[in-house]
């Protein structure tokens, strides 16, 4: 099984310091062209593109997108803080999301989460939140219903979706993160 490199897509180049390449510009322009009535509609697509490319959305991302769409920076930042998918800090190279909502909970999501946490050697950081391992390899958080409740418990590892993840399967998944 091949896992995408980063909690985004295969071509992620890591922390926000990567270059904005002409290819990136082109991709961004194509996305903007899908919204002929209002450029502002392209904020979410550009935030996705930025996060997938650079790993997270820092001040540079907010500034670049605002300039691209002729918006105030706050009009971009307020989306980063509103939508849970976006992050302002890098996650681990392998980011795990464990669904915690009722059907998955009934299916044992709590046990799966605990198993993953142990396998990744992650320390509790208090109230929910994302845990990141010291070496930056792993990060783990709970997510809400991922719309696959019939195959509970379910887990997203970066972009790869896994069903019926019990302790054993959790161990296999972590072992496959190379």
């Amino acid at each position: 099984m091949s896992l995408p490199l980063h909690a985004g897509t295969e071509n992620c180049v890591g922390p926000e310091k990567g270059e904005v390449t002409p290819a990136f510009e082109k991709q961004a322009d194509e996305l903007v062209s899908r919204y002929p009535v209002s450029k502002r509609s392209a904020v979410l697509p550009l935030l996705h593109l930025w996060q997938e490319t650079f790993g997270y959305i820092g001040p540079r991302g907010v500034e670049w997108i605002a300039r691209k769409l002729s918006l105030q920076e706050i009009q971009v930042l307020e989306l980063v803080t509103f939508y849970p998918w976006f992050r302002q800090k890098p996650y681990g190279k392998f980011h795990f999301r464990v669904c915690r909502t009722l059907p998955c909970a009934l299916g044992g999501a709590g046990k799966t989460f605990a198993a993953l946490q142990k396998l990744m050697n992650l320390k509790e950081i208090g109230h929910g939140g994302t845990m990141v391992s010291e070496d930056g390899r792993f990060s783990l958080e709970y997510s809400e219903c991922l719309a696959s409740c019939g195959t509970a418990p379910v887990v997203l590892c970066n972009d790869a979706f896994h069903e019926k993840v019990d302790d054993n399967k959790a161990a296999t998944l972590v072992a496959e993160c190379k």
């Binding site: 899908r34 919204y35 002929p36 009535v37 209002s38 502002r40 509609s41 392209a42 904020v43 979410l44 697509p45 935030l47 996705h48 769409l69 009009q75 307020e78 989306l79 509103f82 939508y83 849970p84 998918w85 976006f86 999301r97 915690r100 909502t101 009722l102 059907p103 909970a105 009934l106 299916g107 044992g108 999501a109 709590g110 989460f113 709970y142 997510s143 809400e144 219903c145 991922l146 719309a147 696959s148 409740c149 019939g150 195959t151 509970a152 997203l156 972009d159 790869a160 979706f161």
Partner: protein, 471 residues
């Protein structure tokens, strides 16, 4: 299931026949050898209905959809023909938009996922027909971003459709132009609410809009008339055009026509997705026969019939339901939980709702305090924060429930919970307020003893004997 009822079923094969699915939308899904590419779709008759629809013309399509009495599958069950009827493409001067709601985020629901992942062209064909019928030239497919493969599948399928001339300029030489784009959400449940979705598509926070206007058909995307329909609804349109509105309306029951995708999760032997005519099946038949009964030999305790927002139903309950008799007159009948028909009107009459078709089953070992605390944690996380009763109230519901679950409950917590929930519902901008309150009101109303008991046994004893569901 009572023994008496079992005796009525003469043989196993006949029993199986009785619970055979009626697959319209899921017809090809999971069929051996069926793939999601255009070639396979066309081999199975794909885009033939589009040709038929283009020849019929928009008004005729709208007429068939009206006749079909199709009700929206996104949650509210609003008649699609009526919704479309708010817009008259011949009179409207502004552009008209259509948005497919593929946000599928109601806990317990996973039907749209099957369509998107396994038969995306069916959705696209339904969508093109619906756009054509309503004079739409630009449409968006709003998909939750957690469908990490799903949005790519849709983009590929749209490109294939465009390449074959089913999308873009002058579709199949009809003179009709249409563009459809995929738009990804970013992990917020409230983007499923249609006006929140529109705000999100406009590049803003997904704050639902104040009503009136009640329908985006009046003022929607970019302040233009807009139709928002669920994935399953748009697929039904294709089948309505295929068989005709009247024939479609014969499937299911009056006012609850067509087939319905049902998702079952929780404590059953065979959880999964099924398709049956609306109301053809009772809740008992679904759980016992279709899903193989409660798992681990346990007994049924509670079931949420229409996604986590629907009010919970308790095993052993009897409901008073008015149904039309043979002479067409309404007669009140006593109906047991297991005999409730799975359709919009019956579940509403039982005080709950068919909602999004997500049936969540809980067995007798489950602790209702834990279950409710889990559900309320979801709503506390997902409130958009616009209205004070919702933002503050739902958070307090979660906090109070968590403290009961953790063994620090106070004697008056159950009444406090009820009071808070009662003050949210009906006082907010969008129906999320109700969605968050209904579970609390119904769990408390039906399992009050369990909450009181949990509080009495506070401290260590409270938590130890259950599998914790609160995280």
């Amino acid at each position: 299931m009572t023994t008496k009822r079992r005796l009525l079923l003469p043989s196993a094969s006949e029993a199986l026949m009785a619970y055979k699915e009626h697959r319209l939308i899921f017809k090809n899904i999971d069929a051996p050898g069926y793939t999601r590419d255009l070639t396979c779709y066309q081999k199975h008759g794909g885009y033939e209905i589009l040709k038929k629809g283009l020849a019929m013309g928009g008004p005729a399509i709208r007429e068939e959809v009206k006749k079909s009495q199709l009700r929206g599958r996104g949650g509210a069950g609003f008649p699609t023909g009526t919704k479309w009827g708010f817009i008259d493409p011949a009179k409207v001067t502004k552009p008209i938009y259509l948005i497919c709601n593929a946000d599928e985020s109601e806990p317990g629901t996973f039907k749209d996922r099957q369509i998107i992942y396994k038969d995306p062209h069916q959705l696209i064909e339904g969508m093109i027909l619906s756009c054509f019928a309503n004079g739409v030239k630009l449409a968006y497919l709003y998909i939750r971003c957690e469908f990490t493969e799903g949005w790519r599948i849709l983009e590929t399928a749209l490109a294939e459709a465009k390449g074959a001339g089913f999308l873009g300029k002058n579709i199949l030489n009809s003179g009709y132009d249409l563009e459809i784009h995929v738009h990804r959400g970013a992990g917020a449940y409230i983007c499923g609410e249609e006006t929140g979705l529109i705000e999100s598509l406009e590049g803003k926070r997904a704050y639902p809009r104040i009503k009136p206007p009640y329908f985006p058909a009046v003022l929607g995307l970019y302040m233009c008339p807009t139709i928002v329909n669920n994935v399953e609804t748009l697929c039904h349109v294709k089948h309505i055009i295929e068989m005709g509105g009247e024939a479609y309306a014969k499937i299911g029951r009056p006012n609850n026509t067509g087939t319905r995708l049902i998702c079952v999760s929780g404590d059953v032997v065979r959880p999964g997705y099924y398709e049956f005519p609306c109301g053809a099946l009772t809740l008992g038949e679904l759980i016992q026969h279709v899903c193989g009964g409660i798992r681990n030999g346990n007994r049924l305790k509670a079931v949420i019939p229409g996604g986590s927002s629907a009010k919970v139903l308790k095993a052993g309950e009897v409901y008073k339901i008015k149904e039309a008799g043979v002479d067409g007159k309404l007669v009140e009948k006593e109906v047991k939980l297991e005999d409730l028909r799975l359709d919009f009107d019956t579940l509403a009459a039982a005080g709950s709702m068919a909602g999004s078709g997500g049936v969540i089953v809980m067995d007798h070992t489950r602790d209702m305090v834990e279950c409710l605390a889990n559900i309320s944690t979801f709503y506390a996380h997902e409130s958009c924060g616009q209205c004070t009763p919702c933002r503050e109230g739902v958070l307090w519901l979660k906090k109070i429930l968590s403290r009961i679950a953790e063994g620090h409950g106070r004697d008056d917590d159950p009444s406090l919970l009820k009071e808070v929930a009662d003050r949210i519902a009906g006082r907010t901008i969008c129906a999320f307020g109700e969605a968050a309150s209904w579970p609390v009101q119904s769990f408390l109303g039906k399992f009050r003893d369990e909450f009181a008991q949990r509080i009495r046994r506070n401290g260590n004893a409270a938590k130890k004997d259950f599998v914790s569901l609160t995280h």
